[in-house]
Structures are given as structure tokens and as C-alpha cells.
Amino acid sequence: MALVKYFATLREITGKREETVRGVKNIKELMQLLINRYGDKFAKELRDRAMILVNGKNILHIRDMDTEIEEEDVVSIFPPAGGG
């Protein structure tokens, strides 16, 4: 059971701050489940610019979409900001 936290635009799209998700082994399975649940808008945001952290670390530095999700893991999804 992982805790998924949504921030900014992802919170708008899902209408949730966070939720627990069961029965997924890795980020790929989690994202598929969330895309099925929240549709194209979620998929687009994810593809275009969302950052995914597992326990505060970007999945790009773990095993990207193959990053395994364990019990008690916290997955945070949010868009980046790059301007100043």
C-alpha cells in the first residue's frame, strides 16, 4: 500500500490531495492505474512535465518507471517550475 501525494496541477486534475493505492509493484503499474482512473488530462500532464519522487527521490535516479514500490512508500507527483 503506497501513499500517493498530488501537488499543484495534479491536485486539480485528480481532485485529491493524496490517496493510498494497493496492488501495484512499480511506478509503471501505478501510473497505468492512475491514467485509467483520471484520464487523458492526467496522462498528458504526466507525459509533458510531471516529476515523480519516491520517498523524496526522483525516479529518474532510481529505476525510472521500473522503480519498485514497497509498502509505506510515499510517491509525490508535481509539475516543475523553471522561471524566475
Binding site: 501537488f7 499543484a8 496541477t9 491536485r11 519522487l53 523524496g56 526522483n58 522561471g83 524566475g84
Partner: protein, 216 residues
């Protein structure tokens, strides 16, 4: 010291006076953070930017006026900050934040005012090399984020995905909000007060009026 009468119980004024803060990028974020630092009496403010003032800056960059268009930002900003607080030392450096970036001055803390990620990574490396904190800040749309990075914390590359986007939409009010948070982190650090945003990425979403914290 009457100038600082209304903050004397909040900060270590002597600490601020003896401090040197580097602000890299004097645009939306850096304009506000340099202004707040100057008002608060930070003794030395080093401004680094290579750009000139453009008309499209004027929606959010608080230090510039229409008649400044075409002038170097660092010199205009330095002049304004000295007018606002003649007691402080402002050092303008017209330079790009590139791999070779270095300056001979003492720096106690670095505040991010960059408008691109590449520059931010270089700035972070500069700070880590000098063993001084780097206060990350960025804005985009109605959203902004801040965190406090030093040798003990997670680094930009641990949580940030390098996404290149040209000239994002930015509001002055969002830049001001994020710059204000960055400045407060700097003043707390320099005064030895409070908890800093170490390993905590603070995201402000103005559309939903929410502060959100990601544990890094």
C-alpha cells in the same frame, strides 16, 4: 539603528550587517529578494546578471522602470538598492552564471534568481564548492517552489527533472511570494533563527491557495 527598530527583536542585525549575500539573477525573483535584503540591512549584496532590462520584464521585475530599458540590470538594480538603503554595500557584477563562474568576494549564502535550470545547477555547484547554502527558488504560472540546499541535504539533481521550457508565464506577485520565502530563509540562516527548509521542498500553488511540502 533607528532604521531597524521594528525588526530588532526578530533578527540578529549585527549578523545581517556583517553578511554577504550573492543573488544570481536580478529578474522577477532576484529583484524582490535583493529589495528585501537591502531593506533589512544585509551589509553586502552581490548582484550577478548579464542581461539588460527589456520591456517584457516590467510586469514583474520590481527594480526597473520604462526608462531603464536597454540598460544593464545589475547597474540599475545596484543604483536602486543604494537609494533604498545607502548604508549597505551593493556590488554589481555583469557576468553569466556559467561553468567557469567564480568571484573573489566572500559569500555567506547564495539566493537563486535564475530563469533556467542549467544556471541553477551551476549555481548549486558553486555554493557546494564554497560550502555555503544555496536557496533554490523557481516560479512558473501560478506556482512556485523553494528549498534550502547545503552539503547535508538532498541536491537539485535528486528531485528535479531537467525540463527545458522557453520563457514560462510568470506573475510579479508569484515571484514576489517565492522571493520573500527565499529571503526569509536567508535571514533566518544568517541570524541563526528557526527551522530551515532543509530536505523540504515547499510548493506554493496560488490557484488553489495552498502551501504544500514535499519531504525530500
Amino acid at each position: 539603528m533607528e532604521r531597524y527598530l521594528r525588526q530588532k527583536e526578530l533578527v540578529c542585525q549585527e549578523c545581517l550587517k556583517n553578511s554577504s549575500v550573492l543573488i544570481a539573477g536580478v529578474g522577477g525573483l532576484g529583484g524582490f529578494s535583493s529589495l528585501y535584503l537591502a531593506l533589512a540591512g544585509v551589509g553586502t549584496i552581490i548582484l550577478v546578471d548579464q542581461d539588460v532590462v527589456e520591456v517584457s520584464n516590467l510586469n514583474r521585475q520590481v527594480l526597473y522602470r520604462k526608462e531603464d530599458i536597454g540598460r544593464d540590470k545589475v547597474y540599475v538594480a545596484a543604483k536602486r538598492l543604494r537609494e533604498i538603503n545607502p548604508e549597505i554595500n551593493v556590488i554589481p557584477i555583469k557576468k553569466r552564471i556559467s561553468e567557469e563562474f567564480d568571484i573573489p568576494h566572500r559569500v555567506d549564502v547564495v539566493i537563486d534568481g535564475m530563469d533556467n535550470l542549467e544556471g541553477r545547477f551551476i549555481l548549486q555547484e558553486f555554493s557546494l564548492r564554497r560550502e555555503i547554502p544555496y536557496i533554490f527558488g523557481a516560479v512558473e504560472g501560478y506556482m512556485g517552489m523553494v528549498t534550502f540546499i547545503d552539503k547535508t541535504t538532498k541536491k537539485l539533481q535528486d528531485f528535479f527533472t531537467k525540463i527545458s521550457q522557453k520563457a514560462p508565464q510568470v506573475l510579479g506577485a508569484t515571484a514576489g511570494m517565492i522571493a520573500s520565502l527565499q529571503t526569509l530563509e536567508a535571514m533566518k540562516y544568517l541570524s541563526g533563527k528557526g527551522d530551515l527548509l532543509r530536505n523540504r521542498l515547499l510548493i506554493y500553488d496560488a490557484l488553489s491557495t495552498n502551501f504544500m511540502e514535499v519531504k525530500l
